[in-house]
């Protein structure tokens, strides 16, 4: 320790001219503050800002130059033997010089900024949106990091050894490794883990350089090539170890199982098929989110990017699931079909926009930035595209593999187009003007639709192609749900405070019966199986199965804290039969409930 201090003192003595230069830079802001025309409205601001700029620039420049030379120059000039001919331990040489170098960087910063701060203290509240303390800390951390990095680069470059190629490769490898460690965390939206991982690796790098410096002097002594070799071995060895530990940790984080999901969850159920998407924060893994596409029939889980969970879409036949796989600024749709060995990439890049999938998943329509494009999934190619009006929202359905109908919600209202791929034509077929936002529910053949304006109190039956009103189905201030069922019948749920009622209509809109629902806060439609309609109530959460043929509430499932829906953009009922309704109970378990039998099972 004593010898380290002796060496540090020698370094200070040798480089005292730097302190003189810093004093000159400390005076300069006061001169600028006194010059009329330069100082603007507030001389204090000029002094504060210019001293900050000078201090930062001086400290950073000194850090880079000192870092590159405080060991490297003695080595390349053959002067390291001066120390090694004396009774001084290598560690004393390293830490003495290091102490002097870092204190000089800190010292010049304080020397330049100090007088200005003392004189103009009130002008220092904050800058660039951060406090003065934070700003100074950032400048000093950057400067000292540059000091250490410059030392490494200086040692490598001055050795004039071909080993520098290996160092470059190792640095690239480290960078690539960090990228591959961070990517799954980005996919898991684990910003806190990423932040601490990068801080930890940064600390490991600093420790590797600090330890590596001592090691290079111990092993290399007066030989610059051996210095290089020793520093390389220590630095990359330490970083390899740190990366291995980080990889182990990241591996553990991403190894989360569905059972580890706790707290807030995203869950989407395929109403016509076996799929369930589960996503949420994983236990003991900070803010890491994990997601799976689960097949509730065969128990198979497919890991997906948690950012994709909200973008999950199922085909009407329930056999396929599509989700976006995010890679940089691209998002490629991936498809998994029940029974297939692995998911397959569609080759279709979608980022933003509205995606509508044909019943069997063979074709996809995308509306993005005013362009409607139709893609063939199997052939991975664009079939055709056309310009459509700028829209706020889009719904649509494939009438056949070659015909697509688009419901474009524009500022002016709903505009309806049909897109014919055999004739390559886009034909406007109708519109519903004036409505700000419409809930649409088409019958299975897409010939008629139930329309409910977001803020209006009327449900109408309209022609699905032209938008023309066929008849009014219901009106009132408390209309909650309106839609076509699998079998082509229509329901409208009216929820006046004391007497909620379900109106049942035939496919053409003629009334069949009204079914009294009893008291409850009916919030949504959870599915139908041809015989029953399942509605959801809140406070408390209950699933209510209503037998449409008998006109009675047949079964209730309490404890359904949250119903799990899906296919937000689908306008037609599912094709397949309803198997189960899926909900989350108060303990966040995902439960599948059979409304026909009342049987239930825990899925996740």
């Amino acid at each position: 320790m004593k010898n380290a201090l002796v060496i540090a003192a020698r370094e200070f003595e040798e480089k005292r001219f730097i302190a003189y230069a810093a004093v000159a830079f400390a005076v300069l802001p006061f001169i600028l503050g006194a010059i009329p025309g330069v100082n603007g409205k507030s001389p204090n601001d000029t002094i504060a800002m210019s001293s900050l700029i000078f201090a930062t620039g001086f400290a950073v420049a000194l850090a880079v130059m000192s870092g590159a030379s405080f060991i490297g120059r003695d080595l390349s000039d053959g002067r390291m033997s001066f120390y090694f001919s004396r009774p001084v331990a290598p560690a004393s040489i390293w830490f003495g010089k290091l102490m002097a170098g870092t204190l000089m960087v800190l010292g010049v910063f304080v020397l330049i900024i100090g007088p200005a701060w003392l004189v103009t203290g009130k002008a220092w509240k904050s800058f660039w949106g951060i406090t003065l303390g934070q700003g100074i800390a950032i400048v000093l951390v950057v400067a000292l990091s540059l000091f250490l990095i410059a030392h490494v680069i200086g040692t490598f470059a001055r050795s004039r050894s071909a080993l520098i190629a290996a160092d470059f490769a190792a640095a690239v490898l480290c960078g690539v490794s960090v990228r591959y460690l961070v990517l799954p965390l980005i996919a898991g939206q684990a910003l806190i883990i990423i932040k601490w991982l990068l801080i930890s690796l940064g600390v490991a790098l600093v420790l590797a350089i600090l330890g590596g410096g001592a090691w290079q002097l111990e092993r290399g002594r007066t030989d610059r090539k051996r210095h290089h070799l020793a520093l390389s071995q220590f630095l990359w060895g330490t970083m390899a170890l740190a990366l291995l530990i980080a990889a182990g940790y990241v591996g553990w984080v991403v190894s989360a199982k569905p059972a580890d999901i706790t707290g807030e969850m995203v869950t989407l159920h395929s109403p016509g098929g076996p799929f369930l998407t589960v996503a949420g924060k994983a236990r003991s893994r900070a803010d890491y989110n994990a997601a799976w596409l689960m097949n509730t029939e065969d128990g198979r889980n497919i890991r997906i990017d948690s950012r994709s969970a909200w973008g999950m879409q199922y085909t009407r036949d329930g056999r396929s699931a599509f989700w976006p796989v995010v890679e940089g600024n691209l998002a490629e749709l991936r498809r998994y079909t029940a029974g297939a060995a692995e998911p397959v990439d569609t080759g279709l890049n979608v980022w933003g926009g509205f995606i509508m999938i044909s019943d069997d998943g063979s074709r996809i329509a995308v509306v993005d930035r005013g362009i409607l494009s139709i893609h063939d999934v199997k052939q991975k190619r664009l079939l055709m595209s056309a310009r459509v009006p700028q829209l706020r929202s889009a719904r649509g359905c494939f009438l056949s593999p070659d015909r697509f109908r688009l419901y474009a919600q524009t500022d002016a209202g709903l505009q309806i187009f049909e897109f014919d791929m055999t004739s390559h034509s886009l034909v406007p077929t109708g519109e519903i003007t004036g409505a700000p936002f419409l809930h649409l529910s088409l019958d299975p053949t897409a010939s008629r639709m139930v329309v409910r304006a977001g803020r209006s109190s009327v449900v109408t039956l309209n022609d699905a192609r032209t938008g023309a009103v066929i008849r009014t189905l219901a009106s009132g201030p408390n209309l909650a749900t309106s839609r076509y069922l699998r079998d082509g019948r229509i329901i409208v749920v009216d929820t006046p405070e004391n007497a909620p009622v379900l109106h049942l209509f035939a496919a053409d809109g003629s009334p069949i019966r009204d079914i009294a629902l009893g008291r409850g806060n009916y919030t949504g439609f959870a599915g139908d199986d041809g015989t029953r309609v399942i509605l959801m109530t809140s406070r408390p959460g209950t699933l209510v199965a209503i037998n449409l043929d008998r006109g009675v509430i047949e079964r209730q499932e309490s404890g359904a804290n949250e119903w799990i829906g899906s296919n937000w953009y689908e306008v037609r009922p599912p094709i397949g039969p309803l198997r189960e309704v899926v909900y989350r109970d108060s303990e966040k378990h995902v439960v599948a409930w059979n409304p026909a039998t009342g049987a239930k099972r825990k899925i996740a």
Partner: protein, 294 residues
């Protein structure tokens, strides 16, 4: 306590594919003066770096006073004075600052001797080290090395850059005086004439190999230059000529195993005729050995 101040065993130093020192072995007794000679690039500096614990050899070991020079360098340097081939002190520092810096690193330090020596050779203490002449820098290094009254003084080509007066002072006063006081001295030099008077033992390196390691007196006694009045064929079973060449009307041979009795027997048996036998200086022996090998 070991009698050897220096013991080098099986020392090998490589730089990539270049073999700088090839299995060198030597020892120097306490209080002896050892002169290591060799051409530039022969491997002397590599051997000295290993000796001072500044470089780790690929194989072999170097011990100073019985301790490994690599692992015990820091402690050993309290007992060893070093004058390096190239001046290595920081050029921006003044001579006084360098002396002050060094004084803080050693357990014992004679500042008066440093100042006296530098005064003698006209080296001003306030001068920047970088502004000094090559000879002055050597004097500074020497003054620093002697300030600790070293048990071992390692001089790596110390006369390089010194003028005649300084060189004479170094050899005739400093080293002789130190040797008389029992200080072990290891010196690498090209100035063989200078070390001839005080070196106890001499080593010669060539292409990394220590080709000679012998007491100076023994070496000088077995090397002779013999000039024959007429061409002769030397019986190599008796005398081993290192160099053989024509000289005037006769021949000149430099033999490395001269012996008076053997020579007289050979001369009378072979009827060689008149012959002149001369002793040789270390420098002449070095040239003969180096020339004979090349």
């Amino acid at each position: 306590m070991t009698d050897n101040a220096i013991r080098i065993s099986d020392l090998t130093v490589r730089y990539g594919r270049t073999l700088a020192v090839d299995r060198a072995a030597l020892s120097v007794d306490r209080g002896a003066v050892y002169a290591l000679v060799g051409r530039n690039g022969a491997g002397k500096s590599s051997l000295v770096r290993c000796l001072l614990g500044q470089q780790k050899p690929q194989t072999g070991s170097v011990s100073l006073f019985g301790e490994d020079s690599w692992s015990r360098r820091t402690a050993l340097m309290q007992r060893i004075g070093v004058v390096t081939e190239e001046a290595d002190a920081p050029p921006e520092m003044s001579v006084a600052a360098i002396a002050r810096f060094c004084s803080r690193l050693y357990d014992k330090w004679d500042q008066d001797s440093v100042e006296a020596r530098l005064r003698t050779f006209g080296v001003p203490l306030p001068s920047r080290f970088g502004s000094l002449s090559k000879g002055q820098k050597k004097q500074v290094s020497l003054a620093l090395a002697l300030a600790i009254s070293p048990e071992l003084l390692v001089l790596d080509d110390p006369t390089l850059g010194l003028d005649v007066v300084a060189r004479k002072s170094l050899f005739e006063e400093v080293i002789t005086d130190l040797a008389d006081r029992g200080t072990t001295i290891f010196i690498t030099t090209h100035d063989l004439a200078g070390v001839e008077t005080f070196a106890d033992r001499v080593g010669m390196m060539e292409n990394g190999k220590l080709v000679l390691d012998e007491d100076v007196d023994a070496l000088k006694s077995r090397f002779r230059r013999i000039r024959f009045a007429q061409p002769v064929a030397i019986d190599t079973a008796v005398l081993r000529p290192t160099v053989m060449r024509s000289w005037g009307g006769g021949a000149e041979a430099i033999v490395s195993n001269y012996d008076d009795l053997a020579f007289e027997r050979m001369r009378s048996a072979s009827n060689i005729g008149a012959a002149e036998v001369e002793a040789m200086s270390l420098e002449e022996i070095f040239i003969a050995i180096a020339g004979g090998k090349s």
